[in-house]
Structure formats: structure tokens, C-alpha cells
């Protein structure tokens, strides 16, 4: 016998996007349930743990909390030929402890009244007259199945998200739009502190980049993200070993982390009747760097504001929820679109062209802005360096975007 429960809002996924949404809606008195399939919030970590810019984070989180492990004051880009392009940028961001950060945001949601259930997994959406009206849930420890009815369901189940697919908002991720990533937490490293490093080379990061993110106390996250289509039979972990040999052969490898991060363009719509998608589940991470913690937090706040307005009006329809899509597109979404196109071009460059482009970019003021690499300037330089390549790649990117704008009806298990 399947029991039914009722909540105003049910959130699928206990990452920063989901718990931030839950925090916002529960603060205003809406009954909220967070479902997290893993046993512990924030564990295991699947993240390089860099977050920026600092001023953006300060608007959302008290950075004095213990989850900040180091302050980043600049960045270094290393080209395939080994040239280092360095820029001091005080307060560009932080390296965080993701487990503590996720816990911090989840605790805030719970102290506002949200109910958190770990080890409970959403297995499908409940629909009535085409509208999403709740979630089917499996309690993993007992195999008990139950249903939760809700006015709004939030899909924030991360890179492996299925809920937006069930809702018909997106389809499967294209293989060339996911970074396959592997990383070690390394201790006893002799590396420049306070600067994040990005290494570009097809030798150890085909179609992507390698990173060194200092965590403080002589430790760093060292990893690679690759385009799986260019990997010539090797895995991200294989490339990571090559990268380690290059940047830190002596380091003491403490923790291995791997995963995928999406490089897709934003979804054309982030909501359907009774359902809203947040964070990486909604392709809201930066499609140039793969970073997405701050984006998920911002999207969570936007989603919470829209949901609360919908409750005031009693309108849970796709059009009522579309305010969230519009607000996202007006802000981060517009920039993500540019980053998506810039990334498509940038990561398709061969090593020699990459050397030329980075050298040309280096001579221009303002290549690196507080928001990261200036995508408009990057495209400008590419246009001069390799107009035929830019044209070809942009055409490819635009047609890929067109294809991905189809809506999909997922399998509702």
C-alpha cells in the first residue's frame, strides 16, 4: 500500500541549487521537502571546489564560515608551448570545502523549516492532466515506495539529473558537451599559492583544460577535464596521470575525485506546469569553465522568489513559473550563451593555434575580467587569428544549439 504525503514544494537533490531554493521558499512558510538519494549531504565530493568572483559570493554567503579553505588572488594560464600568462586579481574567488559548503546551505534550509531526507530517491514525477503534481519516491534502506504530492516540484539533481528529462525540459547530454573530469587532492605540494592555474594542451587535456587550485596548507586540487570525443581511447584518469607527471610528480595523492560537468547552452525553458529546474540539472553552470556553484546558488534564489510569487497568486502553471526563466536569461543566461559559443571555438583549437591565440589575447587589456575570460574579446581575437576556423566552429555550435532546443519527453519510471 503506497502512502501519500503532501508538501507545498518538493526539491529533488540536496546540492547548493536545491537547498538554496528550499531555503528561500521555506523561509516564507511554505512546507518544503528535500530528497537526496545519497546518505550524506555533500558527500562524496564531485567538484574542483573553485568559486568566484568573491564579491558575487559575498552577496549570498558569509565567507567567514569554515568552508572557505583559501582565497584566490590571481590566475595563470599556461599555453601548450609552456608559456605562462599571469594576472593578479585580488578577490577573484575562493577555494571551498564543498562538503562543508553544501552542509552549510542545507542546514540553513532546515533551520527555515525545510524537511531533509537523505537516502530517499525520486523515481519519477506524478502527473495529473499533464501537470506535474508530485514525485514518486523510493526509500533506499527499506525499499519502501511512497508518493509525495506538491504544488511545485524542483528538479535540482545535478549532472546526472533525470527529473528535467521526465518533465520534458531537456534530453540526454551530447557527448561533446560534457567534460569528463578526474582530479586528485594532493598534499605536500610546492606550487604557487593564491593563484589558480589553467593548463591548455592536447597532450593531457584534449578539448578541455587541466587545473591546479590551491586549497591552502600546501594542498591543491589538481585535475583535468577532457572532451571524451577527442580522448583517443584514454580515460580522464589516464590524462590526469600525465598531467600529474607534468605539474606535480612528487605530490602526495590523498583523494581521487571524478565526474562529468556539462558544457551545454542554457535550456530554452526552465519550467513546465508544476515543475522548475535549477542548477546543473538546468544546464546553468558556466559552459566555458564548467564552474557552477555560484550559478546554482543564484538560480536557487531566483527560483525561490518565483515560486513564492506563484503561491501568492495560486498560479503554478508554466506561464506563472516562466518569470524564473526570463530572469535567468536576463542575467547569467545571456552571459552563458556567449561562453557556450566561445567555448565551442576555443576548445576546438589545435595546440599551435591555441599558442597563437593566447599570445594575441595576452597583448589585449581586459582579456581576463572579474567574470573570467572575456568571451567577446576572445571571439574578436579568434576572428583575426583564424577566421575560417571561427566561422566553421560557430556554425557547428549554432546548429548543435538548434538541435538541443527540441523538447523531449522522458521516460517516467
Amino acid at each position: 500500500m503506497m502512502t501519500d504525503e503532501r508538501f507545498d514544494v518538493v526539491v529533488i537533490g540536496g546540492g547548493p541549487g536545491g537547498t538554496r531554493t528550499a531555503s528561500g521558499v521555506s523561509r516564507l512558510g511554505l512546507s518544503t521537502l528535500i530528497l537526496e538519494k545519497r546518505e550524506r549531504i555533500g558527500y562524496p565530493v564531485r567538484c574542483a571546489e573553485a568559486i568566484g568572483p568573491a564579491e558575487g559570493i559575498a552577496r549570498y554567503i558569509d565567507v567567514k564560515e569554515p568552508f572557505v579553505t583559501s582565497v584566490v588572488n590571481g590566475l595563470t594560464i599556461v599555453s601548450p608551448d609552456g608559456k605562462r600568462y599571469q594576472k593578479e586579481m585580488k578577490g577573484i574567488g575562493y577555494i571551498v570545502d564543498r562538503e562543508l559548503l553544501d552542509l552549510h546551505i542545507a542546514e540553513a534550509a532546515c533551520s527555515n523549516g525545510a524537511v531533509l531526507r537523505t537516502g530517499h530517491q525520486a523515481t519519477g514525477l506524478i502527473r495529473e492532466d499533464g501537470k506535474v503534481v508530485g514525485v514518486n519516491v523510493l526509500e533506499l534502506s527499506t525499499r519502501r515506495k511512497y508518493r509525495v504530492q506538491s504544488k511545485i516540484t524542483v528538479g535540482s539533481d545535478g549532472v546526472e539529473s533525470l527529473s528535467p528529462r521526465w518533465a520534458g525540459l531537456k534530453g540526454p547530454t551530447r557527448v561533446d558537451e560534457i567534460f569528463s573530469c578526474a582530479q586528485y587532492l594532493v598534499e605536500c605540494v610546492d606550487l604557487p599559492d593564491k593563484y589558480v592555474e589553467f593548463h591548455l594542451s592536447s597532450t593531457f587535456a584534449p578539448g578541455g583544460y587541466g587545473w591546479v587550485f590551491p586549497k591552502g596548507n600546501g594542498s591543491a586540487n589538481i585535475g583535468v577535464g577532457i572532451n571524451p570525443e577527442l580522448a583517443s581511447g584514454l580515460t580522464a584518469r589516464d590524462y590526469l596521470e600525465k598531467f600529474m607527471d607534468r605539474v606535480c610528480p612528487e605530490g602526495d595523492r590523498k583523494r581521487f575525485v571524478c565526474g562529468g560537468t556539462l558544457l551545454s547552452d542554457s535550456l530554452p525553458s526552465l519550467a513546465v506546469d508544476g515543475f522548475i529546474a535549477v542548477g546543473e540539472a538546468a544546464n546553468q553552470n558556466n559552459p566555458f569553465t564548467g564552474g557552477g556553484i555560484l550559478n546554482a546558488i543564484m538560480a536557487g534564489d531566483m527560483a525561490a522568489t518565483t515560486i513564492c510569487r506563484c503561491f501568492e497568486k495560486g498560479d503554478f502553471s508554466s506561464s506563472g513559473l516562466s518569470t524564473y526563466t526570463k530572469e535567468w536569461k536576463r542575467n547569467e543566461g545571456r552571459m552563458n550563451k556567449r561562453f557556450y559559443l566561445a567555448g565551442k571555438v576555443f576548445y576546438s583549437l589545435d595546440d599551435r593555434t591555441m599558442d597563437k591565440v593566447l599570445s594575441a589575447l595576452n597583448t589585449r587589456e581586459g582579456l581576463i575580467t572579474r567574470k573570467g575570460l572575456g568571451s567577446a574579446k576572445l571571439i574578436g581575437v579568434l576572428l583575426r587569428s583564424s577566421p575560417s576556423l571561427l566561422g566553421k566552429t560557430l556554425m557547428k555550435a549554432l546548429s548543435a544549439r538548434k538541435r538541443s532546443r527540441k523538447t523531449f519527453s522522458g521516460l517516467n519510471t
Partner: protein, 76 residues
């Protein structure tokens, strides 16, 4: 090494539990939702697998194997 074939005698995706750390990259690209994560376990739904090989391509640790057509799968 414990390798699970999703169905004997059929060339479908195989999961090597000793390498899989349940990161979800394969779930993101699987076009038919033939791979699902339950808690900290990756599971497959054999009747949905095509098999197209995309999941094996994105796996960061090489935990997935998609036998070529005609190649005997491990338990086959």
C-alpha cells in the same frame, strides 16, 4: 574484478564495480535512461540499453565497457 553484464549473451554495457565511483557522467549522456544511480550504486536497465557506447566514452575511470557487435561479452 567484479564485472556485471546487464544481460547474459547480449552485447550491452558492462559495469566494472571496482572502477566505478558513481559520478553520473554516464547517466547524463545515456539517451534511453538505461543507467540509473540508486544511492551510491550505478545500476543498468537492460531492456532500455541500445547499446550505443556513449556512456563508456564519457566514463572518467574506464568503468564501463560496451562490447563491439559480435564480440562476446564477459559472461556471454
Amino acid at each position: 574484478m567484479s564485472e556485471r553484464d546487464v544481460e547474459k549473451n547480449i552485447d550491452l554495457i558492462c559495469i566494472d564495480d571496482s572502477k566505478c565511483i558513481v559520478c553520473g557522467a554516464c547517466v547524463a549522456v545515456c539517451p534511453t535512461e538505461a543507467l540509473i544511480i540508486e544511492g551510491l550504486t550505478l545500476k543498468s536497465v537492460p531492456e532500455r540499453c541500445r547499446p550505443c557506447g556513449q556512456a563508456a566514452l564519457v566514463c572518467p575511470t574506464g568503468a564501463l565497457r560496451c562490447p563491439q557487435k559480435g564480440e562476446k561479452s564477459k559472461n556471454g
